[in-house]
């Protein structure tokens, strides 16, 4: 008989890892929620996350400060959001076409600046030093709960704060109301004196910045270097999650932890040598999303103006 694989220590490590795997999903999906709530499906998200990962790593490596990397990633992501906004809002281009274009640009650009920005030592990029794990007095020392909840890098808690803040913005502020109005009925919002174009610009720029911060987590905090296409479809998972979470930040957090947990479980099982068809785990978010979309279609929960360009004169 071999030793049992599922021990308490294993479970604790999977649950702790769940938070770490969920971070990029939380940032990306909350960003996507802003974009979609305002009526724009942001398929540029995968490219934005890649640019964030690349810029975050490069700045962190050259400046020697991880937070500078995160800030630079946010700026670069905001610039990508601006591009997406110009194409979809100002030009009124088909959102998915513009989004795929933005993703292609971002994917190429992230790889390109990476190749120009660091010397490769026998094909391997140099690593940066990750963020330290926080030790919170008393809390970190609690058995089981401590390692799961209170011994993470600071960005984990920033991600959780972003969820709470954006939920507050959506449901408790005038700006949140405006975003939702623009996403549901832009013409009525326009008539009421709301600048539809400006609201969508702000939401897309915010989406780009948040998504890119999620990307910088992958390179700076998780793998400590950049690799081409290292997001590996996580941007698309965010598109999935925003549907799965019914465009609401708190449900999105739940979904991100669920998908992050699936990822953490399959990685941990592989790490201890359990042979599993891990691809079937990784496929799950996409399958679940299609099922969620079918459920949503009956309840019409999606922002009504999603995918529809808004033009004043028509």
């Amino acid at each position: 008989m071999s030793e049992p694989v599922i021990t308490l220590a294993f479970a604790v490590s999977v649950l702790a890892m769940t938070f770490r795997m969920a971070v990029p999903l939380i940032f990306g999906t909350v960003g996507e929620a802003f974009a979609e709530r305002s009526g724009v499906l942001n398929l540029g998200i995968e490219g934005m996350m890649l640019v964030g990962a690349s810029v975050g790593y490069l700045v962190s490596y050259h400046v020697g400060d991880n937070w500078a990397g995160v800030a630079a990633a946010a700026l670069a992501g905001a610039a990508m959001g601006l591009l997406m906004a110009f194409l979809t809002v100002s030009l009124g281009a088909q959102q998915h076409v513009a989004g795929i274009g933005t993703t292609i640009v971002g994917s190429g650009l992230s790889f390109y600046i990476f190749r120009l920005g660091v010397p490769l030592v026998s094909g391997i990029p140099p690593t940066v030093t990750s963020f330290p794990e926080l030790n919170i007095p008393l809390l970190t020392d609690i058995p089981i709960l401590g390692p799961i909840f209170f011994h993470h890098q600071a960005l984990v808690y920033v991600a959780l704060a972003v969820v709470v803040i954006s939920a507050f913005i959506f449901y408790r502020t005038r700006f949140g109301l405006i975003i939702r109005a623009v996403g549901e009925n832009p013409r009525a919002a326009d008539t009421a004196g709301i600048d539809v174009f400006r609201v969508r610009y702000v939401c897309l720029i915010l989406a780009g910045a948040l998504t890119a911060v999620g990307g910088s987590w992958l390179s700076i905090a998780q793998s400590r270097f950049f690799l081409p296409n290292m997001t590996y479809g996580r941007g698309w998972i965010c598109i999935a999650l925003v549907v799965f979470g019914y465009w609401s930040p708190l449900r999105i957090l739940g979904g991100a932890l669920l998908f992050g947990g699936i990822d953490a479980l399959q990685l941990s099982l592989q790490a201890v040598g359990v042979e599993i068809p891990y691809q079937l785990f990784l496929m799950l978010p996409y399958v679940v999303t299609i099922l969620a979309l079918i459920a949503v279609s009956r309840r019409a929960k999606a922002p009504a103006a999603l995918l529809k360009p808004y033009r004043r004169e028509e």
Partner: protein, 354 residues
Amino acid sequence: MDLRFRVEKRPPAPMWLKVTAPVISVVAALAICSALILQAGVNPLYGYYHLFVGALGSTLGLSETFVRFSPLLFTGVAVALAFTAKFWNIGAEGQLYAGGLAATFFGVSFIGAPSALIIPLMFVSGFLGGALWAVIPALLKTKLKVDEVVTTLMGNWIMWYFTSYLLTGPWKNPVTVWPESAAIAPTAEFPILVPGTRIHLGIPVALFCAFIYFLIHARSSWGYELKAIGANPKASNLMGINVTRGLVTVAILSGGIAGLAGVSELGGIHHHMKTDLSFGFGYTGIVIAMLGGLHPIGVTAAAFFMSVISTGSQVMYRVTGVPYPISEIIQGMTLACLLLGVFFTEYRIRRKKE
């Protein structure tokens, strides 16, 4: 916001403007990307010279451009067909893998069968595989009103992970450690059409598909129906066009042709099913369809241009050291510039009269 300008619709753009808009977008994208090439310490003109001469100036370069042309023309036509009816198929990538898998099944298991049997069988099964993967979102759209943009996109990843599962599990090549299938039968390998190059059977088949698209687009009442569905599904329904049937049929055709891209790469180039059978060809197909203005001739030209960029960037990289991901940036920027160009063919900006 202080609106001193306003945007107004202009009369339908003349033909010459519709044709020149993509050309101008390409030039604009190349101009924008020259800043990046400069950043790599290379004179952009020198770089682009090697890009174009590398892709077009030698037998080897030109033949490799044609090799890349095949999958891009398949996916470009596939996407353009679907977009004509405004069936927003973002899933050509997944349909490509579905087609490749279906063809692999026959290619690997029919050892000893003559080429005349096995190669047509691969094309038919690949077409059906891709069509099946596209028809699911089409049915979800028409029966349950589930938007196809997200479902086709999710489908890409479901199919890719399924491919990865098969190629590391049940269909794994017993001989190597790579995630790939066993080799297809020697008789299933496509004939090489020009000795000394990799130009294979897939290229004329892709051109044939473009020709079929041309017939549908320009010569058939069905092509007219597709455009009508795209322009206004409700009105089409009132005119007696069966919109559901039209959308499902176009999904079958679009997915099937995307599936052929997978068959072509499998039978013509790799001879093993692989997890990197496609380098984003399904997504590039979207750029190609848009750049070609959803017109068969335009799409063919756009697919060829993207093949030149893709092949030429590799040469530019080898000669000048400009990193080859520049080809992706050029692709994406071309699309962005095109969207700007299309805007100006449909609208004009006037200064507001006070």
